[in-house]
Structures are given as structure tokens and as C-alpha cells.
Amino acid sequence: MSLSFQDLILTLHRYWGEQGCVILQPYDMEMGAGTFHPATVLRALGPDAWKAAYVQPCRRPTDGRYGENPNRLGHYYQYQVVLKPSPENLQDLYLGSLIEIGIDPLKHDIRFVEDDWESPTLGAWGLGWEVWCDGMEVTQFTYFQQVGGFECRPVTGELTYGLERLAMYIQGVDNVFDLRFNNEGVTYGDVFLEKEVEMSTYNFEVADTDTLFDLFRKSAAECERCLEARLPIPAYEQAIKASHVFNTLQARGVISVAERQAYIGRVRDLAKAACGAWIDVKGYAA
């Protein structure tokens, strides 16, 4: 039998643990992508070697579909691996993980298709691919070139697996809520359907926008206070918080196209400043 959702995670944990990665637990804050985790963003800066793998819940309020779409979710999981410096055999290590979770590369069509990655809110970019398995994007594969506006020296290799998609593929399931979560009859829908419905309702209809605007301002101000106190990690957390509040405001449809850029720029400035402070505090600056 193919891997259940939880066994998929456990298999990846074991595999990347064996490759020398620190297996971390999800960061305890709302964020839009596994990349935002300080174990990726902050650790990608400076000269120190670093290897980590973790699952990160991702919240994307605008992608919520009240649990009615078989492929789209407002809350889902990414499996994130970062290796610094990027090893020579990173592609082979990655392909090894696919074999480990049951994808035979002589039976399936694995392809590296150009996809340059950029995160305007993190001031980060890299080059790489989206990895296709039989035409489906299963992983984002990136060599970071810049993070927080700073050159990566050395470069971190980042792998981001879309866990639900990968599991749907492995299990041959067309609806995410039908995924086998474990092998005891519990489905993904049993665990998360109600949450998808309620969170969609909250994000699109209920969330109080005045409160959110206020939260955004307060997170930004708090971030700046932390920067003054030379505390890059708390400062970065406030930047993440501001980013998520902004995402929710977007879902509420109260941010115009013109304002959108300004908000993204504000978050980027906070994230960059936190990254700069981290470099400073760690003594990485040249």
C-alpha cells in the first residue's frame, strides 16, 4: 500500500535526518510558506554551514475555497529542506528522497523545469526549477542567491515539497480531502475539512479589518522596537506577523492594487532590516 500522509512525512524525516539534517518542528507562527521559517531565512545568511528539514503549515487566506475545491486549500503543509552550502549532489539527494517515498524514476517522468523563485516580501530570489512528476509540480527546487537583500555566501539549496499534492499523487487520489491520513481509516478531510470551511468563512467574511489594520501597524512598530533593541529574531517574528495580517487583509479584499505594493514594500523593509540586524548581531558583516 502507498504511504499515508503521515507516513510520507515520517519517511522524509528519516531520509533527510540520515543526510545529516536537523529535523525541526513547525514554527509556531502563521506564515505563507515554509521559506519564512527562520531556519531558512536567517540561517541562509552568513558563512555557517546548516542542514535542516521540517514540515511547515502554510496559511494562504486567499487560496481558501470553503473546502469545495479538490485541489486548493487555505491551509496546507510544505516539507522544507535547506542545505548550506548547497551540496554537489543535491539533485541526486533529492531524487533519492522521491525513490524513498515510492516514486520509481524509470516508471515515472521526473523533470526539472525552469522556475526562478522570488519572494518580494523577503527581498529574496534564487534560480532553480519546479520538479515535475508526470506533469505535476511536486517540488520547488531553488539555489538561493539573495535573502533579505543580502547576497548568500555561500548559497543555500532549498527544496520545498508540496505534501498534499505529493500524497495525492502517491495515493492516486483526486480530492485532497480523500487522502488517507494514516492507515487506520482517518482521512485528510476528517482532520481538516471543518477547519477549511471555517477559516475560509473567517478570512473572506468575518475577519475584522479595523483590527487587522491595527495589528499590521502594531506588528510593524513592534518590529522596529525589537530592531532598536538589537533583537533580530523577535524583530523577524513581527515581520512574519505583519506579513500574515497583510495576507488576511488581501483575502478580505480591502487592499487596492495601488496599496498592495506599498504593503509588500513595508513588510520587505521590516524583513530586510531584521536580516541586517541578524548579520550584525552574529558578526557576519564583512
Partner: protein, 691 residues
């Protein structure tokens, strides 16, 4: 002489960059070998997703030894001059030769071995290869000087004849080993040289030559479709892209649920092409078939069944998304969608898309009511009102390139007439020169109104194209308008149309100075059209001097008439009569210019020479004939009238002395020449014609 093989193995190179990289590699290698003086035969380059390959035939063994003599200062020259010369030549004083008091440096440059030259050349090419985007990677990226490549570079094979050319760059050493297909043949392969490279890789499931892979994809994809009783929709762009994504291409046919065929065909084809890189197929009626051809990069152990099934599911999810949007869009009448256009800013100075739609509708209606286009005015106005409504649909949100197409489908599904649906669908056409030009009356009206409005509106707020900047594609809009007018033979005064469009726009803004603005903007727009017409006609092969010859008559703003005149003129000047008349015209004009002749009233003093009389008679006949012909737009007739002057003017020049010693005769004859010149000029300004 020996053949040289270079293989640069990296992680997957973006498909779209491979063709340019092959060209750059061949060009740089040839340039630098030539600069180094090492002769080579043919240079070929190839690419696979993971490698760039160069094969140079018949490379010379070494560069020629060279001897160079440089003359220096006199031996008595001051030390500064000597020092400068020594620095320049890199020699010491005792190495110079003194020849009769003048110092000479004799530089011996020994020939360099091919291996040495190639090593330097390859190293320099790798170090500054012009990738559109390059990156750093691995432990070396700690250093600021680390190598950059499009993706991590892993190995270099460099073999001249049978010998490895030693190259080392950023820790990568050249050798003779490479790898085959990532999955079919993961181990190392040792290459002997050019002679066995391609065959050895083929044995390891890598087809080195992209052209061969393209051919294979084309043929096998067609075959896969044919075996299913279908026809592949050719798409050369997809062939090239798939050849750049595969080292061992295996086209496979899969099917999707026919229920998805409710979704507009363009949406399905576009989803398959852009998101999945699949080919589409049609059945014997040329209708879209529920099938796709994907190109795998592996000869799968199960014959491709799992790959096809996987791709089918991915496509199903994408088509389900597309169908969701389509079904949502179908539920909302276009008329309701059109109301939302007032929420979309067209341009900060030009209001919303709804404002633009209102202008298009008015202008399109005017085009019909003024008799330019024969169509039902109400129908045209409705088509214009709905033309942009699809911009707010989910479908166009997902696939912006399908604007118009989606609106056309929705209009038809919602019971609009075929003419209205076609006008909505095609009103963006022609998208520049060479694109299909609509011929349906309602479509022409909406399309032309849309484009003329854009030009006039942007000119009205001083957003004109300048130099290479044309952010609103107004030049293309003008060319498209011209094509619409000419191809459909639309008889309109461009001045009236432009003033009409500007007035409609002024009516929206209710500005007090709008009349003033209109008077200022209209001539600018007309001049812009005239410039574009020249460009458009030049591209269509019409002589620009002939266009100038007709243009400079002024006052012509009916493009169809203008071009008919240009065409008649072109035919005429290419005949013997025409060429000869042009010569006579130039002779007359030159004489008049030389004499600075402004003309007098004298015409008939004294007795006329017979040739003079004949020319006067010919002009008496030709002048009304030409002007009548022009009046009735019979431009060939006008040219014939001019042709009738050829004999008389030639005779005149052959037998009559213009600068007669007798002043009245001279005056009379100059006036006659001027009459001749002016008669010709009324048909076209012959002074602008070259030849």
C-alpha cells in the same frame, strides 16, 4: 590536425535558453580561435537539458610562429624615451638591436600548441559566458569570485584528437568522463573523442543533437495521434521546448474526459500548451479531440502507462479549474459584466474601461451612421458595449491572452447574434501588421473605433510614442487601423474620424478648453497616421518616394484614394512613358530652378515654333483630362493624360531653345515649361520621385 570535443555538463539548462547558448558558444569559440590564430574546420554545437556540446573539426596542431620587429627610439634618444619603449616591448636594453643608430625590438613569438590555445579559449568562454541569468552554488560560493553558470556546472569533457585538453576552472577539472541519461544510465561513461561521443551517449539514452530530438518529437507525436485516429495540432514552439526538456524524448498519447470539451477550445489548448507543454489533437472533422500528447523523458518500464495516467490526472485538475471558471462566467450575462468595467482603471488620465467602452460605442455608431461602414448601427453599438465585458470574467483572469475570444463564446452562449459575437471575439484584430484583418462589418466598426479612440485619447493627454517608447502600443494601433481601412476599402475622411473621436472624448471630460485642445491634437494625430502609413506601405513594398509624391500634394486624408493614386503612379513611372516623362519633368524643373523662374503672364508674344505649339495643344487637352480623371478618382486615366505629354515635351526639348536671345520668346518658353511642370505636379509631385 585533430577534431576537438567540448562538453559542459550542468544541471538542467532552461529550455528557452538553449538555442542562444549554442549560438553563443559556437560564435565565441570561432572568434577566439581566430584571434589566437589557430585554424579550425567546421564548428558545430549541440545541447541537451544538461549539456552544451561543441565539436570543432580539423583543428590545426599549433599556431604559426611569428616574428615581429618594432622600431624604437634612436640610440641617442633621452632615457625616458628608451624606458617607455622597454616597457612597451617587455625587453631589456641589451635585448634591443642597434641598426645604424636606431633601436629595434625583435619579438619572436613561438607557435602555441592547439591544446594550450584551446584550454585558454575554453576557460575564458566559461568565465564570461553570456547567460541571460546566471547563479552561484556550492561551497565555492562563499567567495565573491566564484564561477557563475546558468545552473551548477559539474564537469568538462575536453578532448582534442584522443588527448584530454587540461582545463581547470573553479575546482572543475576537464576529463574524459560524462554521464548518460539521469535514470537509464546513471553511471560514468568514458569518452574517446569526437569519433565516439554521440554514439556512446546514444547507447546511454541521450540524443545529443537537438535537431534530431525535435524531429523525433514531431514524428512520434504525429504517429501517436495517428494511431488513435487523430491529427496532431502542429506547434513548432512546443516541439522546440520539449526537445529542450528531454534527452530521450518519448511522446505519449493520453485522453481526457470528453465532458471537458464544453470548455472553449482555445482554453483547453492553451492550458495544455502553457501549463503542461502538451500537444492538442483534432478529429476527422477538425474538432478538438479529448486527447493530448505529452513528451516524457524516459522509456518507462511499463510502456508509459503510469506516466500517461499521471498526466491525465494533472490535466483533469487543470481543466476542472478552467471549467469551474467557465461555468461561473456563463451564469453572468455579459451585460452585467460590462457594468463592472467602471471599476477598472483604463489609464489614470483617461478614466475607466467603462468610459472607453462608451467612447468606442459612440465612435463605432458614427462610423456606421456617416456611411463609412454599412452595418446595423444598433447592432454595432451593442457589440461595442459588450466588447470589453470579458475582461472581468474569471476565464480571462486566468488566461489574459484569451480576451475577446472568451467574450465571443459567452455572447454566443448567451444568445447574442453571430455578428455581435464575432465583433466581440475579433475586435482586437488585427494585432499589428501581418495579422488577420477582420472583414465582417460590425467587427470592423468596433475594432477601428477601439483603435482610433486609443490613439486620440492618449494623444489628447500627451501620452504619445517617443523614440523607442510606445507603452500603449499606439503605433501598432495606427498600423492596425490603416490595415482595417485599406483592406476593407473604407472611404472615410481620417480628419473627420479623428476629430469625431476627440470630440467624443472631450464630451466625457467636459473641459472648458476642449475645442482648443481638439484643434491642437487633431493635426498631431493625423501626422502620426501619415508617418505610420509610410512605414506600413514601405513594409508592403511601395516606394516611399511615390508616397511622398502624393502626400506632398496635401489635403488628402482618404487613405484608399491616396493609395490608389500612389499605385497608379507606381505603375506609370515604371512604364517607358512614365520614365521618359519623369526625365523631361526633371529637365524642365531644373531649368526653371536655375533661372529662378517664378512665372509671368506672358504667353503668346510672337509666332510659336511648331513644337511649342504642339506642346501648348497637348497641355490644353491633357490638363482638363487629368483634372477630370482625378475628380472621378480615375488615377490611371490621369496618368494616361500625362503620358500624352511625353511626345510633345520631348520634341520641344529637341527642337526649341528655351533660353532664346529674344527676351519675349525666352519668357514665353519658360512660362510654357512652368505650365508643363505644374500640370504634372497636379497629378503627383514629381520632384519627390527618385530616378
Amino acid at each position: 590536425m585533430a577534431d576537438f570535443l567540448l562538453e559542459l555538463m550542468s544541471e538542467e539548462i532552461p529550455a528557452r535558453m538553449q538555442a542562444r547558448a549554442r549560438n553563443d558558444l559556437a560564435r565565441l569559440f570561432a572568434e577566439r580561435m581566430e584571434a589566437a590564430g589557430l585554424a579550425t574546420g567546421a564548428i558545430d554545437t549541440h545541447s541537451t537539458p544538461r549539456r552544451l556540446v561543441l565539436i570543432a573539426r580539423e583543428v590545426a596542431d599549433a599556431t604559426e610562429a611569428a616574428r615581429e620587429e618594432i622600431k624604437g627610439p634612436r640610440s641617442s634618444a633621452p632615457p625616458q624615451a628608451l624606458d617607455g619603449f622597454l616597457r612597451k616591448t617587455g625587453l631589456g636594453r641589451d635585448q634591443l638591436e642597434d641598426r645604424d643608430g636606431v633601436l629595434f625590438a625583435v619579438l619572436e613569438r613561438p607557435g602555441r600548441s592547439a591544446s594550450e590555445v584551446i584550454a585558454d579559449t575554453v576557460k575564458s568562454i566559461i568565465a564570461d559566458f553570456p547567460w541571460p541569468k546566471s547563479m552561484r552554488w556550492g561551497p565555492n560560493s562563499s567567495r565573491t569570485t566564484s564561477l557563475r553558470w546558468v545552473r551548477p556546472l559539474h564537469s568538462i569533457v575536453a578532448i582534442l584528437g584522443e588527448e584530454i585538453v587540461p582545463i581547470e576552472i573553479d575546482g572543475i577539472r576537464s576529463g574524459a568522463t560524462t554521464v548518460g541519461h539521469r535514470f537509464h544510465h546513471p553511471g560514468a561513461i568514458t569518452i574517446g573523442g569526437v569519433h565516439d561521443y554521440v554514439q556512446k551517449l546514444r547507447a546511454c539514452h541521450v540524443i545529443v543533437d537537438q535537431d534530431e530530438r525535435e524531429r523525433l518529437i514531431r514524428e512520434c507525436a504525429q504517429k501517436a495521434a495517428a494511431e488513435a485516429g487523430l491529427t496532431l495540432l502542429d506547434d513548432e514552439g512546443l516541439v522546440v521546448e520539449n526537445a529542450g526538456l528531454t534527452a530521450w524524448p518519448v511522446p505519449l498519447l493520453g485522453r481526457f474526459d470528453p465532458e471537458f470539451l464544453d470548455v472553449p477550445r482555445e482554453v483547453i489548448v492553451l492550458t495544455m500548451r502553457t501549463n503542461q507543454k502538451y500537444f492538442a489533437c483534432v478529429d476527422e472533422n477538425a474538432d478538438l479531440a479529448p486527447a493530448f500528447v505529452c513528451v516524457a523523458n524516459v522509456s518507462a518500464s511499463d510502456g508509459g502507462a503510469a506516466i500517461v495516467e499521471g498526466n491525465r490526472r494533472v490535466l483533469a485538475a487543470r481543466l476542472a479549474d478552467a471549467r469551474f471558471f467557465w461555468e461561473q462566467d456563463l451564469k453572468v450575462p455579459l451585460e452585467n459584466q460590462a457594468k463592472k468595467l467602471d471599476g477598472i482603471v483604463f489609464h489614470e488620465k483617461l478614466g475607466t474601461v467603462a468610459d472607453k467602452v462608451e467612447r468606442i460605442a459612440k465612435l463605432a455608431r458614427w462610423l456606421v451612421e456617416s456611411g463609412v461602414i454599412k452595418a446595423d448601427a444598433d447592432q454595432v453599438e451593442r457589440a461595442a458595449h459588450l466588447a470589453k465585458a470579458d475582461l472581468v470574467t474569471g476565464m480571462v483572469g486566468e488566461f489574459p491572452e484569451l480576451q475577446g475570444v472568451i467574450g465571443g463564446y459567452l455572447a454566443e452562449a448567451q444568445g447574442e447574434s453571430k455578428a455581435i459575437a464575432a465583433a466581440i471575439r475579433d475586435h482586437y484584430k488585427p494585432a499589428g501588421q501581418g495579422d488577420e484583418v477582420p472583414t465582417a462589418a460590425a467587427t470592423i466598426a468596433v475594432s477601428l473605433a477601439d483603435k482610433v479612440d486609443s490613439i486620440c485619447a492618449f494623444f489628447g493627454v500627451d501620452q504619445k510614442p517617443t523614440g523607442s517608447k510606445d507603452p500603449f502600443a499606439l503605433r501598432r494601433a495606427a498600423i492596425s487601423s490603416i490595415e482595417l481601412i485599406i483592406r476593407n476599402g473604407l472611404r472615410l475622411s481620417l480628419t473627420e474620424a479623428v476629430r469625431g473621436a476627440l470630440a467624443i472624448r472631450a464630451g466625457q471630460t467636459k473641459e472648458s478648453d476642449s475645442t482648443h485642445r481638439l484643434d491642437r491634437t487633431a493635426p498631431e494625430v493625423l501626422e502620426f497616421f501619415a508617418d505610420r502609413l509610410k512605414v506600413q506601405q514601405r513594409d508592403a513594398g511601395v516606394r516611399h518616394d511615390l508616397i511622398d509624391a502624393v502626400f506632398s500634394l496635401g489635403g488628402e486624408d482618404d487613405l484608399v484614394r491616396l493609395l490608389a493614386r500612389v499605385n497608379a503612379l507606381q505603375q506609370f513611372v515604371e512604364t517607358e512613358d512614365g520614365a521618359d516623362l519623369l526625365t523631361a519633368y526633371k529637365r524642365a524643373a531644373n531649368i526653371l530652378k536655375k533661372e529662378k523662374w517664378e512665372g509671368t503672364r506672358a504667353t503668346g508674344a510672337g509666332e510659336l515654333a511648331p513644337q511649342e505649339k504642339a506642346l501648348v495643344d497637348a497641355l490644353e487637352a491633357a490638363e482638363p483630362m487629368a483634372s477630370d480623371a482625378i475628380e472621378s478618382e480615375n488615377f490611371t486615366g490621369a496618368m494616361a493624360a500625362l503620358a500624352s505629354l511625353r511626345g510633345p515635351i520631348d520634341d520641344f526639348f529637341d527642337h526649341v531653345t528655351v533660353n532664346d536671345p529674344d527676351p519675349p520668346k525666352r519668357e514665353r518658353r519658360l512660362n510654357l515649361l512652368m505650365r508643363f511642370r505644374d500640370a504634372v505636379n497636379r497629378v503627383a509631385d514629381f520632384s519627390k520621385i527618385e530616378g
